[in-house]
Amino acid sequence: MNSFHRPGTGAISADEKGSLTRLVRVELLKLRTTRLSYGLLATAAGLTALFSVLEASRAGPGKAVAPLYTTTGLTAVITGGVWALLLAAVLGVTVSSGEFRHATATQTYLATPRRGRVLAAKAVAAACAGAVFGLAGYVIAAGTGLVFVAARGYRVPVGDATMARYAIGHVVAAALLAAVGVALGSLIRSQLAAVIGVFVWAIVIESLLGGLFNAIQPYLPYTAATTLAGSPLGGAAFGPAHDAATAAVPLPFAAATALIAGVAILLSAVASRTTVPRDVT
């Protein structure tokens, strides 16, 4: 029965599920034996700590950041965790574009000639690693906030349920952005160009678009990811978008998740029809 099966024409057989699981394990092993993965995680942790401490130390009555006994103040500190989201996307880019940078795509495709499966396995593996980035970002950012709250003798202004939602939001957003990164790195095979693309899109383009057109701000994928992680709308943006007095509200959790997953699926579909089948010379 399996011999008649073609991918995309029906349900996945047990055999194919097994092989996809193995491919994900291969990609996870590649990530674990790559120093770049650890370097990116360390960078994410370092930037999160730096920005969280900066925000926390600028917080107080009449200061740039609202006092840490308010939800706004503590949330501003936890927003430092969005660096982990951004670095998770970069990790995703390296997972796919690295195969071309180091010409390892040849060996990968010799082992698995069905390239669509390789792309799917990379997306899943990068999402797993991205989840770790998200968790690390949350722990560092929230931990920093709570340490400052305790040190100043305040009561924690944010409830446990909300904190849990921020934690899950960090994990989900970073995982999905890593999958988006994989798709982007498959489309733009140049690693440097794709990494620059991630930063320019997230920091420049979304800040510009969000500042100019407040109404679309909740629907911008990176912005939606940051709101999943608990950042206020525009909280992770630069320029006018940062403090835009806007009537727009962040997307609900499920809608934001669906939006980012949709971007990952759309970009992957485009990549698997355009760049992925190209000759590997």
Binding site: R22, L23, R25, V26, L29, K30, T33, T34, R35, L36, G98, H102, A103, T104, T106, Q107, T108, Y109, L110, A111, T112, P113, R114, P277, D279, V280, T281
Partner: protein, 236 residues
């Protein structure tokens, strides 16, 4: 059944006709030299055979199937295409762990192939610091992990020192004695002449000759003379 069968294979890169209506076959257990000058189309042919490059026309099959349709391809075919395609930050052993998992090889094979290729002492070192010759050995180790019956080697002697070339020759002879089929490309004719049973000669993408080595060199001083005579005739 033929192990390799190539029929009417054609590939054009822009204005360059890299491979032109190429047809040849390889029988089980043969060690075949795939010869041609640099740019003759050898690598492109091998990449089409391995499903990495899509032909404009023609077919290339292994054991009767296109590469993409082989079940567990690495258990049927081991290929070494380029000596530089390793992630530089990974150790040789970690590289082989990844490939063993991808190719469903027994992890105990890792130590065996390291030993076989003389890399045991360098297994923990990062591949980025390897010489070209060591990379060639690691490429061979990778191909041998899954114990395939067919080996496809693109210029495997590149970067090997005289000891390495000698070692490679012994390795290929050993594999052939064990019944493996080998297609080995080279532009260094002397190196191949001592190893192969027959040759396929390519010139500007076209087949110039396929014959047992003995027939080809009959009446010539050596393979080199026969090669130049044939390619000169073909270009007339």
């Amino acid at each position: 059944m033929k192990v390799i069968e190539i029929r009417g294979l054609t590939k054009r890169f822009g204005p360059v006709l890299a491979v032109d209506q190429l047809s040849f076959a390889v029988e089980p257990g043969e060690v075949v030299g795939f010869l041609g000058a640099n740019g003759a189309g050898k690598t492109t042919t091998l990449r089409m055979l391995l499903g990495l490059v899509r032909p404009d026309a023609g077919t290339a099959t292994i054991n009767g199937h296109a590469y993409a349709d082989l079940s567990e391809p690495l258990h049927q075919v081991g290929a070494v295409l380029e000596a530089s395609s390793f992630y530089p930050g990974r150790s040789a052993r970690d590289h082989l762990r990844v490939q063993a998992l991808a190719g469903q090889a027994d992890p105990s094979r890792i130590d065996e192939v390291l030993e076989l290729t003389g890399l045991t002492g360098a297994a923990g070192r990062r591949v980025g610091g390897f010489s070209l010759g060591m990379r060639q050995r690691l490429g061979l180790a990778t191909a041998l992990l899954t114990d395939p019956d067919l080996l496809i080697l693109d210029e495997p002697a590149n970067g090997l020192d005289p000891d390495g070339v000698h070692w490679l020759r012994d390795l290929l002879r050993g594999l052939a004695a064990g019944g493996a089929t080998v297609l080995v490309s080279s532009h260094i004719l002397a190196e191949v002449a001592q190893t192969v049973d027959s040759v396929v000669i390519l010139d500007r993408g076209r087949l110039v000759a396929q014959s047992p080595l003995a027939d080809l060199t009959a009446g010539e001083r050596n393979l080199e003379d026969a090669f130049f005579k044939l390619t000169k005739e073909a270009s007339r």
